[in-house]
Symmetry: C2
Subunit: 625 residues, 2 copies
């Protein structure tokens, strides 16, 4: 998940190692603390209870009882190992370190002599290794192992897990490749992981193997049974000839992250072109307002263009995470603000809705409306999302800033301390203070710098129509930079400050008229936050199904210390339609009679915080009158 | 499928045997002829090619090669046998009769000594009989055998297939029941079939067994693996306590047909109450305008209330047929016009869209909009729909009229000759002449009657706001009877006529505002026909995604001899929205700018006839301005 583009020849921006960034008090730090203190430790118990560790013990010869499916149970452990590794950087913890060491010992014991490591195929189907690539998740699990190993190496400097990963990667590299065996991984993931393993070890074979796996797609070479079509697996066309995002959303987005990763190292234009083409298709036609991806439950997949139902939205939490991974790479390649904008939207909406406010329950699916009854779960039989959420939260610091040719770029307004290597004799140290996203005020305080000039770039979000930066006595209007970066190059001194003011007001969002599911509706946003209306917050007896918004009256923001862990609440003027003439009727001949309404005040709260009280009704989009 | 309520103690209306009704020239007769001449014979070849017959040969010990799944392949043969039986009544045909005899010989050879008959469990899983009731379709296939056997007996008077059915029914009755084994059929169907088998044979055990299967549901007794939840199988609650239609639509509707059938014989109020409750839930909250049922591809199932997306609608052809079956029983029970109204809507829309105009290709799924690329198929791997369509078309005459206490009720305006037993010394014979649904004119000519008075009841459709009946010189305004029956009791003489005039004009249909997917849209209907807009009929270069209707201007109907096998085409005034300001944008902050439009004329054609030219775009619901 963490990438290191400092030596990538085709990176426009260089990433900053996680160890050089500390998330400080603010919107996110409490979530990191809960992840550290509760989430990761709770997950360790769940991995024990659910049989993930026992599966590896069975592979190592020390387990008892039955193997627990699904076949990709190992990957839950790997994502958890990766999350803990990041957290060991953020905040060392002997208890977590012991847990990690035990897990690594188990992996070492389970790994075969020849480097192979996959508990499912070792225990359940030893004769089927590499023969069920479509749905067996063998290469997918390997990819998550590689990501965990890189993270663990960076966190601890130890090579024990990295060695396990490299032995397995070498085993895979010996099996697959030009002149060896073909392979289309049924679930992309290994591609991006191999590139990062290559960056960490310097081993070029891993990069080439990643490229090979990408090249294999769309040639009818997938092996093993699958209930799905080629599009589900992104195997319908050659990767370089793809025109649309399609199929299983997480698969598609992991693949695109891998494509971007290979581009970062090879600079092959066709790869960047397809990534940009698919980004356009996705963001212009197949994305929820919440930066959720996957319109369909069937196949957990992207729908057709403009097929974006609110109620049956899939919008898997893992897809929001995969989208952040892909866009982070696109940002590194291009330096264009739109990728950071989308990361922000994913973080505050489609991703964050995936975990409860108390940090202990998860959503796999994130719809944009509910008739009630939807509740988060502590864990899932298919538990891909919880440990994915954990690694995302632990790695938050990674997404705040980058460097480039004597410049520091601030992408996310997350309170933090950053030490950035700008090529000077010492790192430049800055402190980012902000109460974002509740207020648009923030300041970047220069704490350490030498006398060489450098450029500070601040992302001005696209929705911000009133923005300024004050440096010293000078206030610079940066409203015209909305959707890009405001840049300030000068010789900075310790104690200098860039004070940012982004005007945040509640705003109505209108959807493209081609999206049938939300025609004639509006949503409310506040800064990067998408809002929703929960039934519990509306006047008593009023059904969310029948309320309407009056867009002519501006909504008001009200700070609530006591609600949903401190949020900005939004009040909007609306009405409720009198539905008595429709009783028991779905359709009727059009008549000139107009509907009748009763005025009322509607209350909206951040989408990420929904379903934290009662499992009640919710809507993001409200019809307007 | 055909039911005989003439002796059912709780029937308000008595059905007329198929042999007493001949469909004459008109909208439907050509479809029946194609079904007879092409469909049924084509199906026989498909049943050979697809392995259905060979499966039975394998069971009989004379087959070669592998068994062909799915496990319910026998039911395709049974539905085809039932369809051919009806057609042998409509129009005798030695070729079809030979095919039927061959198939019956095969069934006789395959049936076990003890009466058991199911090729899948005999050939593939002999040790698993009655152990995979959830998804094995064993009792489902038995039900279709029983329906076929009753139809064949009525058509030919021969008992050979009826004997096979009764031997199997006796075998099942010996296995299941109070004091014997429990069983929840995973796919309802046997319930309604057992009741009809009971009516045909007089055997009360079959009726009791049907009631037993209904009683078993909702008690956690289902056995065998299933990937679905209890709601999918209508096994979540006791049948008598159900509040909503849910789960797999065909399963739900076959079950409700069985519930109604049991009520017809037993008169148990709780069964009628649940049937009426679920009818209300379905028609008020979960029905497409086309009388299509099943909002979701996942589980081919009903969605939540008001979840009725046009693009991802499932609306399986078999569900439309199952709905006709259920409503026909509800009509027999109550005599209420709303059930006949819904049968009409299903016949002309959600059912008829399931077969191509040339009668050779089928739709399994019937969406209400398409971005293109959807084509009918000659047959399906899961071929439930084609033979179901065949039996429905062959049985059309059954749905036209009923009798009751010296009265004749006309439910469907299908040109036909009807001989009705009103308890007089001779049957009353009438001829129904009509060019419905294109024109609302028709006449019922009394051809034979004696001098006893009897009552003629004519259904006046609910959409008809101008209707009259002329008898002799007298014109009676029956507009106030819309949604019920206009009744005329008198002493009729041969040559008397009741001339019906139903004013049919194109009309706009408005959806309930709670249906998100079609908010602010309108559809067009003409008589019982729902219309749609196909991309091919609109001005060149205009995308259906961007067109709008102007409801202030009345649409016009134009007769087209040359289009889609003769249809009424409808022209409506509309506009196309200039979408340039939305390029590559899904969402944006609300601004005061109004959209700009260019006027144009839109063309609508009957929904049933869509996808008969190019696999292009289509919409039923068009946004209005």
């Amino acid at each position: 998940m963490e990438i290191d583009t400092t030596h990538s020849p085709h990176a426009h921006l260089k990433t900053i190692p996680l160890k050089n960034v500390s998330v400080r008090d603010g919107f996110w730090s409490g979530r990191q603390a809960t992840n550290h203190d509760i989430g990761l430790k709770h997950a360790y118990r769940k991995l024990e209870e659910s049989g993930n560790f026992n599966n590896l013990k069975l592979a190592a010869g020390s387990g008892v009882g039955e193997y627990h499916e699904p076949p990709f149970m190992d990957s839950d452990i790997y994502k958890w190992l990766e999350a803990v590794s990041y957290e060991l950087v953020n905040s060392p913890d002997p208890e977590l370190e012991n847990m990690v060491n035990d897990a690594i010992d188990l992996l070492a014991a389970a790994q075969q002599e020849n480097g192979y490591l996959n508990s499912y195929f070792q225990v359940v189907k030893p004769e089927k290794k590499w023969q069920e690539l479509a749905m067996g998740h063998e290469l997918y699990c390997a990819g998550h192992l590689f990501e965990a190993a890189v993270a663990h190496h960076r966190a601890t400097g130890k090579t024990v897990l990295l060695d396990i990963a490299c032995r397995f990667a070498d085993h895979i590299d010996a099996a697959f490749g030009p002149g060896k065996r073909d392979a289309v991984p049924g679930h992309p993931e290994i591609e991006l992981a191999l590139v990062e393993l290559s960056r960490e070890t310097g081993e070029q074979r891993y990069l080439k193997l990643a490229g090979f796996f990408i090249d294999q797609r769309g040639r009818g070479k997938m092996i093993g049974a699958t209930p799905f079509d080629a599009g589900y697996h992104q195997d319908r066309v050659l990767v370089r000839e793809a025109e649309i995002v399609e199929g299983h959303a997480v698969r598609q987005l992991y693949l695109l992250a891998g494509v971007a990763d290979v581009y970062l190292e090879t600079g092959e234009k066709a790869l960047l072109e397809v990534a940009k083409r698919l980004w356009r298709d996705m963001t212009a036609r197949k994305m929820y307002l919440t930066a959720g991806f996957g319109a369909r439950h069937y196949g957990e997949s992207f729908g057709e263009a403009y097929e974006l139902p609110s109620d049956t939205a899939y919008a898997e939490t893992c897809a929001a995470i995969a989208n952040i991974m892909w866009n982070w790479r696109m940002l590194a390649i291009t330096g264009e603000a739109r990728y950071a904008d989308l990361i922000e939207s994913s973080l505050y909406n489609g991703f964050l809705s995936g975990i409860s406010l108390d940090g202990q329950r998860y959503f796999y699916v994130n719809p944009l409306s509910s008739q009630g009854g939807i509740e988060r779960s502590e864990w899932y039989g298919c538990a891909c999302c919880p440990p994915n959420v954990m690694r995302q939260i632990a790695l938050l610091g990674h997404y705040i800033a980058t460097t480039r040719e004597n410049g520091l770029q601030i992408h996310q307004y997350i309170a933090s301390d950053i030490a950035a290597d700008l090529g000077h004799s010492n790192p430049v140290k800055v402190r980012l203070e902000t109460s974002y996203p509740w207020e648009g005020k923030g300041q970047l305080v220069i704490e350490e710098t030498d006398e060489s000039p450098w450029e500070l770039a601040l992302r001005i979000p696209p929705w911000c129509d009133e923005a300024s930066v004050q440096i010293g006595d000078k206030v610079i209007d940066v409203s015209t930079n909305a959707g890009s970066y405001a840049k300030f190059k000068r010789t900075w001194k310790p104690g200098d400050m860039a004070q940012l003011h982004l005007q945040i007001r509640p705003r109505f969002i209108k959807p493209n008229p081609r999206v049938d599911a939300i025609r004639s509706t509006l949503a409310i946003a506040y800064g990067p936050l998408v809002y929703c209306f929960e039934g519990i917050d509306q006047p008593e007896g009023v059904s969310l199904s029948d309320v309407r918004l009056r867009p002519s009256i501006s909504p008001k923001a009200i700070w609530r210390e006591d609600l949903l862990g401190r949020v900005m609440e939004i009040k909007a003027q609306g009405a409720v339609e009198n539905m008595s003439s429709w009783e028991d009727m779905l359709y009727r001949t059009l008549s000139p009679a107009s509907p009748s309404y009763q005025d009322l005040e509607l209350t909206a709260t951040p989408y990420y915080a929904w379903a934290n009280r009662v499992p009640g009704t919710m809507r993001v989009w409200i019809p307007c009158i």
